[in-house]
């Protein structure tokens, strides 16, 4: 079977064994493929496409013509740098085997004269049933998507805002570590530190988030000057997260962390 390499799509003219009408349609068919190459789910999908395109009777496939078109499409896929899965090549070999069988006179030893195309036709028909069934499911899916059940969080999101994922505590701690590791511009003049309490930090955070809506974690820490204040703020943030007043989220696993005030949090202080 090694001589049936699909690399060589140039086969001889359609043989007399096959139904006529093979030659004239090939040029426009080829052009059509070149203009628009849909994504094929597999070799059967591609074959069905070729068959439908030429309005061929599926139970009476002109193998020679279809084989040629099939190989041309594979060649095109390769030119387009599309990955041609192994299954496509197996089908190419199958097609050429069928074609060869059709060219040969019937072998005597075979009990009954089966059409060599029969297995393929059966496979195509079976596949087509489920391809159609998939379309039915797609329609059901589309209809169902118009019906909404309860439980969707009703909040108008900023259409530009990308989807934010919840952040784990671990990630928050890492972010704190990163922020603390960055050099804080040293305070030049001494001030007598008035230690900030957690609830004060919480309040500051809450108010800032309320006016600005969303803060980067790093921006949040910048609101607090000294290392001890930053740590106090962090503890305050944890408390706010626990209370559910604030949400921490990020765009992707290692992206920057955002803090958002949750809607409906009443201002409990001035």
């Amino acid at each position: 079977m090694s001589d049936e390499r699909p690399d060589n799509p140039v086969m001889e003219k359609p043989s007399g064994l096959l139904r006529g009408g093979d030659t004239e349609a090939s040029a426009p068919a080829r052009a059509a493929i070149r203009v628009n190459l849909p994504a094929f789910e597999g070799p059967l999908d591609l074959l069905l496409h070729l068959i439908q395109q030429d309005e061929i009777d599926i139970t009476d496939i002109p193998i020679s013509k279809i084989t040629r078109q099939y190989l041309e499409t594979l060649e095109l896929m390769r030119e387009l740098d599309l990955e041609v899965a192994g299954e496509f090549l197996v089908m190419a070999a199958t097609l050429m085997r069928i074609k060869a069988r059709l060219l040969l006179p019937p072998i005597i030893e075979e009990q009954e004269e089966l059409d060599p195309r029969e297995g393929l036709v059966r496979q195509l028909l079976e596949y087509r049933r489920f391809k159609d069934a998939a379309k039915d499911l797609e329609r059901l899916e589309a209809e169902r998507r118009l019906l909404f059940e309860r439980g969707a969080p009703a909040q108008l999101e900023d259409p530009e805002a990308s989807e934010l994922l919840p952040v784990s505590l671990f990630r928050l701690l890492e972010a704190l570590k990163g922020a603390l590791a960055r050099r804080v511009p040293s305070v030049i003049h001494t001030i007598h530190a008035e230690p900030m309490r957690i609830d004060e930090a919480m309040s500051l955070l809450r108010e800032n988030l309320k006016t600005r809506g969303r803060l980067l974690f790093a921006e949040m820490l910048d609101l607090f000057v000294t290392r001890i204040e930053k740590i106090t703020a962090f503890l305050g943030l944890l408390e706010l997260l626990k209370l559910g007043d604030v949400r921490a989220a990020q765009e992707d696993a290692f992206g920057p962390i955002y803090l958002e005030i949750q809607p409906g949090i009443p201002a409990n202080e001035e």
Binding site: Q123, D132, A133, E141, R150, L156, E157, P159
Partner: protein
């Protein structure tokens, strides 16, 4: 004292998933199954006739309040449509094969599609649309795939009999197929296809829906 319909409506309102008739019977602790079904049927008509924004749907073997489909654009606007992505073509094909031929092995699915379906099956499992119903008795004891309860929810249907009928194979091949079926009787795996596609088959759903065989 609220009327039974009021109670039923409140239960349906409070639930974000379909409620089975058995649950409703248990919770209501009064009217029997048939009475509750009658109430629900009446309520569905009342919702419809009073032009409400919600409708009472019979879905995935239960009852659920769903928004009217005409209202979808507004809901989508409100939710900014953060919905699960639709299934790909490969996913839909694979799901269709599982739905109509369950329980079915991956090899059989690959055979019909002519390509490897691992990726699609994985996605379907991940989305809970498909489950593993057990193992086939065939060599290697391959896993058998079936649709889940979530599948009915997702497609908005009540059970497998709600699936559109599978098209028949070409009539020429039909005969041969039947002859072959008689010859090759070893295929012991029961097929839902026969349930869905032909009327003369026993309409009792195959145990595929039962999730107990999650091996």
């Amino acid at each position: 004292m609220p009327t039974p319909k009021q109670i039923l409506e409140s239960l349906l309102f409070a639930s974000d998933a379909p409620i089975g008739l058995a649950t409703l019977v248990e919770v209501m602790a009064g009217p029997d199954k048939d009475e509750i079904r009658t109430y629900l049927d009446e309520m569905a008509i009342e919702f419809e006739e009073s032009h409400r924004g919600v409708a009472l749907a019979e879905i995935a073997g239960g009852y659920q309040l769903l928004s009217r489909k005409e209202c979808a654009p507004w809901i989508e606007k409100m939710l900014r449509s953060r919905r699960k992505v639709r299934l790909s073509r490969a996913g839909l094909e694979t799901l269709a094969i599982v739905a109509y031929k369950q329980p079915i092995t991956k090899t059989e699915i690959d055979g019909i599609r002519g390509v490897d379906s691992s990726g699609s099956l994985h996605t379907l499992l991940e989305r809970n649309l498909v489950l593993i119903a057990g193992r086939s008795k065939a060599v290697g004891r391959p896993l058998l795939y079936a649709t889940s309860q979530e599948f009915f929810q997702y497609m908005g249907i009540n059970d497998l009999t709600d699936l559109p009928e599978l098209k028949e194979l070409g009539s020429v091949l039909e005969e041969r197929e039947r002859a072959q079926m008689e010859l090759a009787d070893e295929d012991a795996v029961p097929s839902v296809e026969s349930v869905v596609a032909s009327e003369d088959a026993d309409p009792a759903p195959v145990e595929a829906g039962a999730p107990e065989g999650a091996a």
